[in-house]
Symmetry: C2
Subunit: 229 residues, 2 copies
């Protein structure tokens, strides 16, 4: 019975790429991370090792290892003798993180203008166009996902691994909040306008302009999200 659940976990994991096979550790980390992002585990909730382990079909040992991993990522907090708790982010925490994220994306944009190939920029343009389609249809979820893809793509095009990894950590902490904070129609239009500017600046390889747009875009994100906290 326990093994059925384990099998499920591993099936969930993306098995493409012949280099590294999926490990149970990675599967648990990904699963718990999702549970936090999707709100199954709410901020402040205690993670009971016994129950959670049974739930996932895993013994406490690998589960605890995964929890330590998530503590290091900043998604959980650990009080000695009392186990792991889903981390609470105050409004200031979120604001602080968004400032840093804005700065990192600004840097990424600058580097992307320098290092991206024309073909890569065309790919981002395609993502953008598909996103605009979804906006026309007011289809929120695909829009949201494509939006995320575009930001990730710009990060990737910076060709700076350290930047990508740091950005991912911060991004993961806020994913839950952004998941909730779905903006109203008027602010949505503003975000779309930003994105039009973005792709334009990238295609023109105007590093200063792209950098500024990205940083400012993140400040606006704060305005959109601040009430949802």
């Amino acid at each position: 019975m326990a093994y059925e659940a384990t099998a499920l976990l591993i099936d969930d994991f993306d098995s493409r790429g012949p280099i590294a096979r999926p490990t149970l550790h990675d599967a648990i980390v990904a699963r718990v991370r999702d549970m936090i992002i999707e709100g199954e585990l709410t901020p402040g909730a205690r993670l009971h090792e016994g129950n959670l382990g049974k739930m996932l079909g895993v013994s406490r040992t690998p589960l605890r290892e995964a929890l330590k991993f998530l503590v290091s990522e900043g998604l959980l907090e650990l009080s000695p003798g009392r186990g792991a708790v889903v981390r609470q982010f105050s409004a200031k925490d979120v604001h602080d993180s968004l400032i840093v994220l804005g700065n990192l994306e600004g840097l990424a944009g600058r580097l992307a203008c320098e290092h991206a190939t024309d073909a890569e920029i065309r790919e981002v343009r395609q993502l953008h166009d598909r996103m605009m389609d979804m906006y026309e249809k007011r289809d929120r979820l695909p829009y949201f996902k494509l939006n995320q893809s575009i930001h990730s793509a710009i990060l990737r095009l910076s060709k700076n691994e350290a930047l990508v990894s740091v950005h991912n950590v911060l991004q993961a902490r806020l994913k839950r909040i952004r998941y909730i904070g779905n903006e109203g129609p008027e602010k949505w239009a503003g975000a779309v306008a930003d994105h039009e500017d973005m792709i334009g600046a990238l295609e023109a390889r105007d590093a200063d302009r792209l950098s500024k747009i990205l940083t400012t875009h993140m400040e606006k994100t704060w305005e959109r999200v601040r009430n949802a906290i």
Copy 2:
């Protein structure tokens, strides 16, 4: 016998602060991190759980948890079935990290100009003056430590927790490199000049200037370190 080593570990840990008592987990993490920074564990070295555990007087279970933590921090890499290895940083990795660090410190400087109190700036000035004393005496190690303290202080004065935490992660990855890369006299003078500018800009609360100095300072660090890799 095993317990003697454990006790030692815990004694190493700073026990001030009545809130959180030192945990074995934190002690192991700190110890292994130090072993990497100080070169006791060289990049590419495999970490044998049995031996390392005996060495530290700890069983494999908490040791493995600590290793997972350090993997998440980016100091170790994990290949399934083959355990943990001290991560190798290529020259590009280091360069990329320094670019990001420079950007983060630039942001920190900008925020510090805004949020630091006069008293806090005076404290940085004192650190700076003491560092200059050490420079006069050509006393490298205290100079190095005070230098680090000043950069940390500026980060702290940004009053941005997310920024501090992200900076720490990246800083930890490079600590080993900086530990090696001790510059020659002519470049040392350049670094000192930068620091004079820094404290001046901070006291004047000139955010743009401080930000630029910090970012540029990091680019110069690359020049100093690049040959040592």
